[in-house]
């Protein structure tokens, strides 16, 4: 039986086996699945500037949704798209709630809008990938996170985001183009400064 720790690579076959045992109420499998998937899910929630502060709450909420809907995982299908589709739904719900709250608060106070504006625009202190990812639109960022953090294939990302492989490639292409443009601008500005 595969044993998972937090630092393990996400191995689709092993995870699928754990999920099947979890559906049969195997407590040990549930434990291992939580340990194996939670770091990648936490990164997924923390990648968004609006959900970063609540990433741990969202992780818990996501696991409760996974638990309630565990009978809808079909063992013949890949597990990661199923898990990340639920995670994405959890995040979208949180973003909607957050936007509703923010729009109400803006009406009450103008200075709060300024605070949100500062949070949403991170500074570029270095070439750190996470900071650069924060510059991307949400739909492009989540594609890159799924591809990079959990090592999902284009096909699996397409399933998790309910789109086609072509649309995922398009989003990844746009994201890479934007990242390249930012890097080029920074190189140019560094050249000008020196």
């Amino acid at each position: 039986m595969p044993e998972y720790t937090q630092s393990s690579e996400l191995n689709e076959e092993g995870l699928r086996e754990l999920m099947i045992r979890y559906q049969q109420a195997d407590a040990n499998a549930a434990n291992q699945l939580v340990a194996a998937l939670s770091p990648a899910l936490l990164r997924f929630f923390a990648a968004n500037p609006y959900t970063r502060d609540h990433a741990e709450d969202l992780l818990q909420e996501c696991w409760m949704r996974i638990h309630r809907a565990r009978h809808t995982y079909r063992p013949s299908e890949p597990l990661l798209p199923w898990v990340f589709a639920i995670a994405r739904h959890t995040k979208v719900d949180a973003l909607r709630r957050s936007h509703r709250t923010n729009s109400r608060e803006v009406e009450l106070s103008d200075f709060h809008q300024a605070t949100i504006g500062v949070e949403a625009k991170p500074h570029y202190a270095d070439y750190d990938l996470q900071r650069l990812l924060a510059e991307l639109p949400e739909s492009q960022r989540e594609v890159i996170i799924m591809l990079k953090v959990s090592g999902m294939s284009l096909e699996e990302v397409a399933r998790a985001t309910s789109t086609t492989v072509g649309a995922v490639k398009q989003k990844a292409h746009r994201a890479y183009r934007k990242l390249r443009r930012i890097l080029e601008e920074r190189m140019n500005s560094q050249g000008t400064n020196t």
């Binding site: 559906q23 990164r43 741990e56 009978h71 809808t72 995982y73 589709a85 591809l147 399933r159 190189m187």
Partner: protein
């Protein structure tokens, strides 16, 4: 010589490629183009998942353990497709037994074949989409929104092409046809919504609308085989638009209500 655009496109289409697996033209480009090389190096940086805060994993596991029971896995798409085919055939047979398909004698072979194939195609696609939409992360064979638009449009074109218009028959026995169609749609729709309620669709309203399309197509088929007013004006207005419109609308509303129990915040 390759352009930056081509290289960026290649990297996007091969997100897990290693340096050794890059084709020669990409490697050559990366050698002399600094921004592309920077991007390549950036994409090689491992984006590690953070360690979980102390106690978080235990807290999640504890909540799961509080309600850990064996579950019955939802049937496969193939099994569901067979069940839906059975429901469709059952309703069509029930319509034939209870009403008698009077229109069959007046329909030409081409009308039967073309309308039959279009309806069966729409029902098969609705079933396929529905079985995929009710679970998270499944591959969709086509865009469900396009499907919801294309079914009424395609059937309208087919009906208008196969039957004479005769607008003066617009208001003839309209409600009896709609009610009859809906009476046969209802059991099919209730069955589809019951499946939806047991499943966990991420877009419950959309899955409900597709269930409504399935149910509406059952009603359309029964009404068209039974009703002897074979004019496109009547069939389009009452068998198709009214029946399908009501089924899809009701399906969307009920689907949204019934399909969200697993993903609502309260659970």
């Amino acid at each position: 010589m390759s352009s930056c655009k081509e290289v960026v496109r290649y990297l996007a289409e091969h997100p897990h490629s290693k340096e050794t697996s890059l084709p020669g033209w990409v490697r050559d480009h990366l050698r002399w183009c600094q921004p592309c090389r920077q991007l390549w190096h950036l994409l090689q940086v491992p984006l590690r998942s953070p360690a979980l805060p102390n106690g978080l994993s235990e807290s999640i596991t504890r909540q799961i353990m509080a309600n850990l029971k064996p579950v019955r896995v939802i049937p496969s798409p193939q099994t569901l497709a067979l069940i839906f085919t059975g429901v469709f055939l059952l309703m069509i047979s029930a319509g034939g037994l209870l009403l008698g398909y009077k229109a069959l004698a007046s329909l030409t072979i081409w009308q039967i074949v073309i309308i039959g194939l279009t309806s069966i195609g729409a029902i098969a696609l609705a079933t396929m989409l529905f079985t995929k939409l009710i679970v998270p992360g499944d591959r969709l064979p086509l865009n469900p929104y396009w499907f919801l638009i294309m079914v009424p449009v395609l059937l309208s074109v087919v009906v208008r092409w196969l039957f004479p218009w005769r607008g003066h028959l617009f208001a003839t026995s309209q409600w009896s046809c709609v009610l009859l169609a809906l009476a046969f749609s209802a059991p099919a729709g209730i069955f589809a919504l019951w499946i939806l309620h047991r499943a966990a669709p991420l877009s419950a309203g959309l899955a409900g609308a597709i269930a409504g399309t399935f149910a509406g197509m059952v009603g359309f088929s029964v009404a068209t085989l039974h009703c002897t007013i074979l004019t496109s004006c009547h069939i389009l207005s009452w068998h198709l638009i009214a029946t399908l419109g009501i089924s899809i609308g009701l399906g969307a509303v009920l689907g949204r209500t019934l399909g969200q129990r697993y993903f609502s915040r309260s659970g």
